[in-house]
């Protein structure tokens, strides 16, 4: 079976949906972070797939963008984890149902 763009896009969409579901349904902040990381991974997979199945794929532009994005994701994960730890120290919980300070 020859890999085609469609297969990659379907896998990417599935990965994104799983990540979204995790971000929306889990109550633990760490799982939400993991969900967000999964959505970012789906986006990266899209970048790579579109680059690979493109006529001008000899250049390394797509890979560069993906690597850049992963670096940003790492930084974002660090910031997110720091936030979670700070929130936990303050509220003694990481359950997002109890963190409703944005309430209008």
């Amino acid at each position: 079976m020859t890999p085609t763009l469609q297969i990659f896009l379907i896998i990417s969409a599935a990965l994104f949906s799983i990540g979204l579901l995790a971000a929306l349904s889990r109550r633990h902040a760490i799982f939400i972070l993991i969900g967000i990381e999964m959505m970012l991974a789906a986006a990266n997979l899209n970048f790579i797939a579109f680059w690979r199945f493109n006529p001008g794929s000899l250049q390394t532009t797509g890979v560069m963008v993906a690597i850049f994005s992963i670096a940003i994701a790492a930084a974002e994960a660090a910031v997110g984890l720091a936030l979670v730890i700070a929130v936990y120290r303050h509220y003694r919980t990481t359950n997002v149902d109890q963190l409703d300070q944005l309430k209008g």
Binding site: V96, L99, D100, L102, K103, G104
Partner: protein, 665 residues
């Protein structure tokens, strides 16, 4: 030098007026400063008056005018000016000199008063206004000063404002003279309308010069009579004389300066100043306006002399005598003797000021007592006051030869005797001469002779500062006759503008003997009648006036001033009371209800708008705010603070957007 004084005439009234303002700013603890300012101002005015007087001596009929434009409106200009002629010059001298004597006298008389400096400020103010009055060359300027002296008189009559009688007298004086002044003002307006100028002298175009008079014609009579109304008010002529005796409520120096020597003579001066208006179109020296002047004058002279006989207040007697003498001057002017009238005015200024100051000295010596029935025997206690008072009394009575009043009175009798219209004023004036001698004899016997009574027992002579002006004025009263006597009628010829001639033969005239007989009769009758005042005489008790004993009804009539105040009370004052009540009623019920009706309309409109506001606009605003709040509450429920809820909404939104684009494609 002469040029300078003509240009600086305005300084004469200005210096005392400025002095008055300065004195007002002086604290009462600095009395010497106030006195120094007042006396310096007066001396300066006197000096300038002398400088102004000297050039007028050289040329007979001398006259200098200084006119200037006050303001212009359209093509017309309102012009004012100063005039220096013999009439103004002698008045300046008299006012400044008498004023100076009275200022000095006041230092002693007012020494114990708590408003000492204010008194001198007012006196200076009066002096300045009076000096300005006599040198005004415009009827308007004269009127301004005329009102200023009236105002000064008001202030000074009511000087002891804490006394209700003084406040009432000040009001009475002000209002009574205002009635006359209204006539004066109307006359002035009419004169301006007819002749187009209010200047007296303006190189032939003034209102009392030929060109100006020619434009007047018949209206001159009415204008003259209207102006005479002002003179009647100011000079206390019947029927507007009622304020002058009441004005004696003021301090005695005020009575001497304002209500005897100067201001009340302003009416006579005014008539003399605008005399051509009165005499325009005269046939044989008689015009309707002059005839009115004569009869008013005669009535006043005789009535006041009669009332004076029955008065008990030392100052009121003198006040009525002033009214009487002013009447005499008016008669003189009316019959054509302008010069005789002015001469009497000047002589009267000196001896009446002397008499008032003498009365002030007596009151001072008797510790504020005014009632002559409580005095007596003062000639031993107050020798200087007595001798000067006697000189004043003889000058007023018209004793011939040695006293100024005698010469001028004879002059007046002389011109009145030759009045072609009627001989009656002449005989009435002769009766007036006898009456004058009689009431003055009565007063002097009551005050200075006989036994000492209640008020005079502790009497004492006044200090030097008060007796010196008395002596000065007594000397003036005697030596003034030098320039009055017909042998060398210097003042007469100076005023008429003729060269002076000396003729001893003219000294002795029939009028002299007639005068002597009349005055002698008056004095003798007085001495006989009042020989035993203050003591029991036959069936008459000691405290009853001899005239009252003989003629109680007549005495009561005269004592109550011929019931004129009561007559006014029941007529003029009652009328104004009714008019005032009527206006009050109109104001309260008619005009007020109109105003209230309009107010009610406004209120009604207010109520309507208020209802509209509350029910309409306010309700709408309320409803919309309630709605907004409800919406806000509903929306705020969405803000749960649950980040996942927000995120799921975003996800749903993105999904919906995706489906929408998919459907579009």
């Amino acid at each position: 030098m002469n040029r300078w004084i003509f240009d600086s005439l305005w300084l004469i009234p200005t210096i005392p007026l400025a002095g008055s303002l300065l004195i007002l700013s002086v604290n009462d603890s600095r009395r010497p400063a106030a006195v120094a300012l007042a006396i310096t101002g007066q001396i300066a005015a006197l000096t300038l008056s002398v400088f102004a007087f000297l050039p007028t001596l050289h040329t007979p009929g001398f006259r200098v005018v200084q006119n200037f434009t006050w303001f212009t409106f359209g093509e017309n200009a309102l012009r004012l000016g100063w005039v220096l002629d013999p009439l103004a010059a002698v008045m300046l001298m008299m006012i400044a000199l008498v004023g100076l004597c009275i200022f000095v006298f006041s230092i002693g008389y007012m020494a114990g008063d708590k408003n000492f400096t204010r008194f001198f400020a007012y006196l200076s103010f009066f002096s300045g206004a009076m000096l300005g009055l006599v040198i005004a060359n415009s009827l308007l300027l004269l009127f301004i000063f005329w009102e200023l002296v009236g105002f000064a008189s008001y202030l000074l009559i009511g000087f002891w404002i804490e006394r209700p009688s003084a406040a009432a007298a000040a009001k009475k004086a002000f209002i009574t003279t205002r009635i006359g002044d209204m006539g004066f003002f109307l006359g002035m307006v009419w004169l301006y309308h007819s002749s187009g100028t209010l200047l007296f002298y303006d190189e032939g175009h003034g209102c009392v010069e030929n060109a100006g008079l020619a434009m007047l014609g018949v209206s001159a009579t009415f204008i003259a009579l209207l102006i005479f109304c002002g003179a009647m008010g100011k000079s206390g002529q019947f029927p507007l004389h009622v304020w002058l005796p009441d004005a004696m409520e003021g301090p005695t120096p005020v009575s001497a300066l304002i209500h005897a020597a100067t201001m009340v003579a302003a009416g006579v001066f005014l008539v003399a100043r605008v005399y051509p208006l009165f005499s325009l179109g005269a046939s044989n020296g008689v015009t309707p306006s002059l005839t009115v002047v004569v009869w008013i004058g005669v009535t006043t002279a005789l009535m006041a002399a009669l009332i004076a006989i029955a008065q008990a207040d030392i100052k009121r007697i003198l006040a009525y005598s002033t009214v009487s003498q002013l009447g005499l001057m008016m008669v003189s002017l009316g019959v054509g003797g302008v010069v005789a009238g002015m001469m009497h005015l000047l002589a009267h200024g000196f001896f009446k000021a002397l008499l008032f100051l003498g009365a002030g000295s007596v009151i001072h010596g008797c510790h504020g007592e005014h009632d002559i029935r409580k005095m007596g025997g003062l000639h031993r206690l107050m020798p200087v006051t007595f001798s000067t008072y006697a000189i004043g009394m003889m000058a007023l009575s018209g004793v011939p030869l040695f006293f100024s009043g005698g010469w001028t009175k004879e002059e007046i009798l002389h011109v009145t005797a030759h009045w072609p219209a009627s001989p009656i004023p002449y005989y009435l004036l002769l009766a007036g001469v006898v009456l004058t001698a009689l009431y003055m004899t009565r007063q002097i016997i009551y005050v200075f002779f006989g036994r000492q009574r209640a008020a005079s027992e502790r009497g004492h002579e006044s200090p030097l500062v008060m007796t010196m002006p008395l002596i000065a004025l007594a000397i003036c009263a005697i030596f003034f006759s030098v320039v009055l006597a017909p042998a060398w009628p210097w003042l007469h010829d100076y005023l008429t503008g003729e060269p002076v001639r000396f003729d001893v033969a003219r000294l002795i005239q029939p009028m002299l003997f007639l005068s002597l007989v009349l005055v002698g009769a008056g004095v003798a009758f007085g001495v006989w009648m009042y020989r035993e005042v203050g003591a029991q005489d036959g069936r008459r008790p000691a405290d009853i006036d001899p005239l009252e004993f003989a003629q109680p009804k007549l005495f009561r009539f005269l004592e109550n001033k011929m019931w004129l105040d009561e007559l006014y009370g029941y007529t003029v004052i009652a009328f104004s009371w009714v008019a005032a009540r009527l206006s009050d009623w109109m104001d309260r019920y008619f005009w007020d209800s109109l105003v209230r009706a309009f107010g009610g309309l406004g209120q009604l409109f207010g109520i309507v708008t208020k209802g509209f506001d509350e029910r309409g606009i306010n309700a709408g605003v309320d409803e919309s705010t309630i709605g907004a709040r409800r919406v806000g509450r509903a929306i705020s429920r969405l803000h749960s603070g649950q980040v996942q809820t927000y995120l799921s909404i975003i996800a749903i939104g993105v999904l919906a957007l995706l489906l929408f684009y998919a459907w579009l494609a």
